[in-house]
Symmetry: C2
Subunit: 310 residues, 2 copies
Amino acid sequence: MSITVVGSVAFDSIETPAGRQERCLGGAATHFSLAASFFTDVRVIAVVGEDFGVAQESVFHARGIDTRGIERAEGKSFFWEGSYLESFNEAKTHNTELNVFATFEPKIPDAYRDSKFLFLANIDPVLQRRVRDSFPQARMVAGDTMNYWIKDHRSALLEMLKGLDVLLINDTETRMLAGNNNLVQAARAVLAMGPHTLIVKHGEYGATAFFSKRSFAGSDVVRPPFRVPALPLEEVVDPTGAGDSFAGGFFGYLAAQREITPPAFRRAMFYGSVMGSFAVERFGTERMQKLTRPEIDDRFKLFRELTHLD
Amino acid sequence: MSITVVGSVAFDSIETPAGRQERCLGGAATHFSLAASFFTDVRVIAVVGEDFGVAQESVFHARGIDTRGIERAEGKSFFWEGSYLESFNEAKTHNTELNVFATFEPKIPDAYRDSKFLFLANIDPVLQRRVRDSFPQARMVAGDTMNYWIKDHRSALLEMLKGLDVLLINDTETRMLAGNNNLVQAARAVLAMGPHTLIVKHGEYGATAFFSKRSFAGSDVVRPPFRVPALPLEEVVDPTGAGDSFAGGFFGYLAAQREITPPAFRRAMFYGSVMGSFAVERFGTERMQKLTRPEIDDRFKLFRELTHLD
């Protein structure tokens, strides 16, 4: 089934120990939708400026992504400049220009409204909530957020969380949101805020899913957590978008399943980690643009070998 | 088959967010041998002072551990005082008194010499090498080290590494030893120093094994890395000895196998992580003293559920 994603489509200038790239195509909705497009149909809601041209749009179209929800506005697209010179786990932001994103009002094409899967990438929780409410029939709603919203927009964020099934955030964000340094206790606190499933992303160490009673409809059993590793990589070129690619692989795979069972959920976590491992191999969206399904399947097998006893 | 371990037997005063405990029984050889004792016979080489009495010795004897190699010397046992108030991943050392350990000369009981598995816990690499050379018939030799030896005793350490089959160290130590921040590249550099297998411990995120061509005798295939998670724990009381308990579970399980195959190695990694997860539940050796084999088997199943697709 199709996924609608709302979030940023942007240009990123990025410096890492592997080099520097100016104005790559980026943004959470971009990375998410490219990764998800290998598994299901994807529709994007975003805003871009006049600098977003045919070259950028064709990256989406080459993967069959519906861009009718990408609004063109006067001015420039969202721009981010950052570096990962000391650590791949944390970006240093040098410059953020919101540009057309500052006044973003998500507009949902009628053709998108039958999407049963909705992904709210990291944007203002007020907007996330508004989009969520436009999809009352959604079967599953997942989303992301960041430290800025957790610290300074807490009440809007808590309101948004009530409408989520699955929240994907990192270790630091989980601890900050819960006000608790123990990950298991913090996860329980976050699950009480709304989402029935929490996926905590650990960067180079993978991710852990925590479940509540409501995680799998019709089941009274609370599942133990599930951990997926990340691939130990010989060379990381650019970690930007790794988390969004994880989310895209995870949610894309889930949306393509007839039924969301615990085993399907586990495989989805593996596909998330697989897509994250590809994303970091090149700057921006380069690797995703050239990726093929057989490469994905091969890496899925490698992930199994990396973790399984038999 | 039996394991001989050389390393510290000590007293630790430890402060964590869970409380403070004075003069717990500790030391790398203690934590290692208790964990390994659930899988095979263990023999300890160490030195203790006059403060090591019947109460401490009975902790070893209750688990059937051979203490004939624990030398009694005049003076006090090795003492360490530390805290984990800011992070469970890194201890802050407040006081270290080497005491009888300052002049430790490992003495190997004749009854130990037929051990085919040898573990060189974290001590002066000159002593590690000396003990290693006393076991020319060893089938497998594993060992640990720390930043102090890597930084200030590099040539002795490199000499010691030539005699190791398996090295177990953490992320920071791996990067420091190799002088390379990329874990995969650093692992390759370390494998070129002697050990055919490197296990990198990631604290709360588990551990990764890296293999060279010589990892599994008779096989020409270089195995891809293998990752085992750690258990997300509701409450961590005291992380002291978690790494040594991991090593004990891992090496104890391996020593009990007829043949060291890749699947046996993977199970050994899981048992290592299982034993580490128990060790941190109480201060010092408390949890290991009360642990039972059925509890170990139950947790092994939980680890499988935590990571496996099917």
